[in-house]
């Protein structure tokens, strides 16, 4: 038991910071930008995604021997969509205010690249327990990134935090932070900050390695418009 506790712990911890899906792997940008106008929405979205991620990783790792390789992606998507439907029922019934404010982005958890990415890269190749822990870590890493975004945007843009009015800043909040432009700006700054702290090689681009669709794509790297140019640029 003690022998394999360290690797399992790593499966969980890597998603939080080292391979944070949003800030390092640059996946799942759409919800990160769209629902982070308030810290509470960000947490709600993060936890809903974590639930779907853990459940889909669990089911996919259980079914990995059963699903034929050729049709695995449609299968994964249907499994994910099933859990998304489940969580939206739960939220609609028990937390209607969150359900309202997440709106269409709750449905769009289905096409969140993180979930399909983990299913393809991890759950379909690993045993049940590591897959669940991987899902949990990645989900919480996602929640953490959303929470950071949501906090910054709510504090500066609305002058409050979790709905609590903050002194000084709530008198004259900078509205731009909760507008779409502010979302892009804050995410850019946070990723730059992470780059600075981690001191990674700077020209970090979106390429086939972290392209969420690489699994579906199946094209030669040189054919893909996205990566061909980044190589040409070097």
């Amino acid at each position: 038991m003690k022998d394999n506790s360290t690797p399992l712990k790593n499966e969980f911890l890597k998603g939080l910071l080292k391979e944070n899906p949003v800030l390092v792997m640059l996946l799942g940008m759409c919800p990160t930008l769209a629902v982070t106008t308030m810290a509470s929405n960000a947490i709600g979205m993060g936890l809903a995604t974590t639930f779907v991620l853990v459940c889909s990783n669990l089911v996919i790792s259980l079914l990995k021997g059963v699903i034929p390789k050729a049709v695995r992606l449609p299968c994964f998507i249907v499994i994910i969509a099933g859990f998304v439907t489940l969580i939206s029922f739960v939220l609609e019934r028990y937390i209607p205010s969150l359900y309202e404010s997440l709106g269409v982005f709750l449905t769009l958890i289905t096409v969140n690249c993180i979930i399909l990415g983990r299913a393809e890269a991890f759950a379909s190749k690993n045993k049940v327990l590591p897959s669940v822990l991987d899902g949990l870590g990645m989900g919480l890493g996602f929640t953490l990134a959303l929470f950071a975004m949501g906090s910054v945007r709510e504090i500066f843009g609305a002058g409050s935090w979790f709905g609590m009015k903050l002194p000084v800043i709530s008198k004259d909040p900078m509205l731009i932070f909760i507008m779409p432009a502010g979302g892009f700006f804050v995410l850019g700054c946070i990723i730059a900050l992470v780059n600075k702290i981690a001191d990674r090689r700077p020209p970090q681009e979106i390429s086939c390695e972290n392209c969420p669709s690489a699994a579906i794509c199946g094209k030669d790297k040189s054919e893909c418009g996205a990566s061909a140019e980044s190589e040409a640029a070097q």
């Binding site: 640059l26 996946l27 940008m29 759409c30 919800p31 930008l33 769209a34 992606l73 449609p74 998507i77 249907v78 969509a81 099933g82 998304v84 439907t85 939206s88 029922f89 269409v104 449905t107 769009l108 289905t110 096409v111 969140n112 690249c113 399909l116 731009i176 507008m179 779409p180 432009a181 502010g182 979302g183 892009f184 700006f185 995410l187 850019g188 700054c189 990723i191 730059a192 900050l193 780059n195 600075k196 700077p202 020209p203 970090q204 681009e205 979106i206 392209c211 969420p212 669709s213 579906i216 794509c217 199946g218 094209k219 054919e223 893909c224 418009g225 996205a226 140019e229 980044s230 640029a233």
Partner: protein, 191 residues
């Protein structure tokens, strides 16, 4: 007719799918490096959005008839995934030039949340069939416009000297913030 035109203009400028609704960001950041790939991806998205809406609208009516509308997410994503594959196969056989232009972008579209987003939004807004198609077309054009505009901006970023920490994605996102800011000028156009 006037109503349809308003829907299209609203979708393209006022509620731009990428810059104010944050859908399809992955594709927006991934493919907007060059004008050529932006145009290709944009064309493919317009095509798939209109066709997917034309398919999902009747599918939803069918679900409504049997009172199983909660299966919407599952049904729509399956229709879109199947549809993208179908287009790819048909296009490859019958229209090789078009396939060569759009082909590489097609598989990327299944996970483009703008496509699922627009089909769901059409239902949520209670649009009729014609309105849905207009909205899908407008959204596709909005996506292409954002990509094409942004590819121009990125070409300039690539030539400029920016601090090492901001190189790559952070600089791209901050440029996107400025482009998005310019689209705020359209807000309230039809209020």
């Amino acid at each position: 007719m006037k109503e349809l035109i308003i829907i299209i203009i609203t979708a393209v400028f006022v509620n731009n799918v990428v810059l104010s609704q944050f859908m399809g960001i992955c594709a927006f950041l991934g493919v907007s490096k060059q004008l050529k790939s932006s145009l290709g991806m944009g064309g493919a998205v317009i095509f798939v959005m209109v066709c997917a809406t034309a398919c999902t609208y009747p599918v939803y009516r069918l679900l409504e008839r049997y009172e199983i509308t909660y299966l919407r997410t599952v049904a729509f994503i399956l229709v879109i995934a199947m549809f993208v594959q179908l287009i790819e196969i048909v296009m490859k056989k019958t229209m090789p030039p078009l396939y060569n232009a759009l082909g590489v972008y097609l598989p990327l579209i299944t996970t483009n949340c703008a496509v699922l987003g627009v089909t769901v939004a059409n239902i949520d807004e209670g649009y009729s069939f014609a309105q849905s198609i207009a909205n899908a077309f407008g959204t596709g054009v909005a996506f292409s416009l954002a990509l094409v505009l942004f590819s121009g901006v990125r070409a300039r970023i690539a030539e400029s000297d920016i601090p090492a920490t901001f190189k790559g994605v952070p600089a791209t996102l901050i440029a996107a913030a400025i482009v998005s800011l310019s689209f705020m000028g359209f807000a309230g156009m039809f209020a």
